[in-house]
């Protein structure tokens, strides 16, 4: 990967040195991702990596990749990781964490993975208050397999397996994961965030940080649902995809804190 530093004239006005204010996080490898242009997975990966760097836990963090477009997350995160079977990341993470309680274990999962086939694994990991962190990217479709309906597909949305638009009466209603899990006593942190705007993205990162913080403090299971864009399967441009999140997904999936353990506010 060649780095082209755009040539620009040397700053003349001042003697203060250039400060590096942002660079690629150490918890990401150098590999370019396979994601489509504008896909939210890339930015979310980066934020997870930044949080891991900031918390200084890269050396003791273990990631669990899903089956979904983020299947190669294990190549992108510069840390020990593994690839779970479709939907089973929470079970795999449970196994890892139970035998290595001093390690930080997180799963990264899509909506098909977590909310459809893996519903039971996430439900019971949350019930058990498993000390793991779940990064849950809701893009309302099965990205990897080509845009089928997910449990999170919004009403009326056309997908390749709901070609007339999701009919909630026959195909089911959207599922609200953090709302579902928040009442469970083992859950320390359950929130929803969105990638549709700069300010929201900053909140995404803060939430990811809190979720890892919960694990570091050992206060319970933590999950951040993130509304992300899948321009490819929404058949819109990357920039329009942000509007799509705002206009179509947010009404169904309001951002918010559904559970924040009191000990986390410390």
């Amino acid at each position: 990967m060649t780095t082209m530093v755009m040539e620009r004239e040397a700053p003349t006005l001042t003697a203060t040195p250039w400060e590096l204010v942002y660079q690629r996080p150490a918890a990401l490898t150098d590999l370019p991702t396979h994601y489509c242009p504008g896909c939210s997975h890339g930015a979310i990966h980066r934020m997870v990596a930044e949080v891991i760097d900031e918390l200084g836990i890269r050396e003791r963090t273990i990631g669990v990749a899903p089956v979904g477009c983020a299947v190669f997350a294990y190549k992108y995160f510069n840390l020990d990781s593994c690839e779970a079977a479709h939907g089973r990341a929470p079970a795999m993470a449970t196994g890892l964490k139970r035998v290595r309680p001093d390690r930080i274990v997180f799963t990264y999962q899509g909506d098909g993975d977590l909310a459809s086939i893996g519903g039971n694994e996430i439900l019971h990991a949350a019930l058990r208050g498993e000390q793991i962190t779940v990064i849950f990217v809701n893009n309302a479709v099965y990205g990897m397999t080509g845009g089928q309906m997910a449990p999170t597909t919004i009403a009326g949305m056309k997908t390749t397996s709901s070609p007339m638009g999701r009919d909630v009466l026959t195909q089911g209603y959207p599922i609200h994961i953090p709302e579902l899990l928040a009442p469970m006593p083992g859950v320390a942190y359950a929130v929803r965030r969105s990638m549709h705007a700069v300010a929201e993205m900053r909140k995404v990162k803060k939430a990811i940080r809190m979720a890892f913080q919960a694990q570091l403090q050992g206060v319970g299971f933590s999950i951040v649902e993130i509304l992300g864009a899948c321009p490819t399967n929404w058949h819109v441009s990357p920039t329009d995809a942000l509007d799509y999140i705002r206009d179509r997904m947010l009404p169904e999936y309001p951002v918010g804190d559904f559970k924040v353990d009191a000990r986390l506010r410390d």
Partner: protein, 183 residues
């Protein structure tokens, strides 16, 4: 005898469609034919390709490692397939996009300024059909009218206005190649 053709380009360049048109034309010409796309979670906007195999007897493998002919519509495709073309086979590439000094002398290479020709025919979206025309000029697997017929029957309705330009492009591609010496 089976002839295998790989058509490859960026997603959106219509590689798969050109292959289907060829397959339809072959079928209507009474040949045996298979068409198979690349599939799976390849990077979107990355390379897409399909393989068409045409023959007189039932087709064996629908996928081949060493194709007889390759249509390469972008640089990655040229890079990927140049080494794979069968000895004595044919590589057509879009010379408008790809400035490539050829690496193999045991295959026939044909540089087609397909982008330019397509623009002249009315749209840069016609590159795929220009290349198909070019292929058929070098390797007469099916008659051009059969391809015209296939275009007529299978161009999606919403692109009906592109039918004429497609036919023009087909012939333009064929004409261009026919006029060039084989390298």
């Amino acid at each position: 005898m089976e002839t295998s053709i790989i058509i490859s380009g960026f997603g959106g360049q219509g590689a798969l469609f050109a292959g289907q048109v060829l397959a339809y034309a072959a079928m209507e010409s009474g040949k045996e034919v298979t068409w198979i796309p690349s599939y799976g979670p390849e990077m979107r906007g990355g390379t897409a390709h399909c393989t068409v195999v045409i023959g007189d007897e039932p087709i064996g493998a629908p996928l081949v490692r060493n194709p007889d002919c390759v249509i390469a519509m972008n640089l990655p495709s040229v890079d990927k397939y140049t080494p794979l073309v069968k000895v004595g086979g044919l590589l057509l590439y879009d010379s408008t996009l790809v400035k490539q000094s050829l690496l193999r002398d045991d295959i026939v290479s044909a540089a087609v300024p397909a982008h330019d020709i397509a623009l002249r025919c009315g749209s840069h979206q016609l590159v795929n059909i220009v290349m198909l025309g070019a292929l058929l000029a070098r390797c007469p697997l099916v008659e051009l009218p059969a391809v015209e017929q296939a275009l007529r029957a299978h161009l999606p309705e919403r692109h009906a206005d592109l039918l004429r330009p497609n036919i023009v492009a087909l012939h333009a591609g064929a004409a261009y190649t026919a006029s060039q010496p084989a390298v």
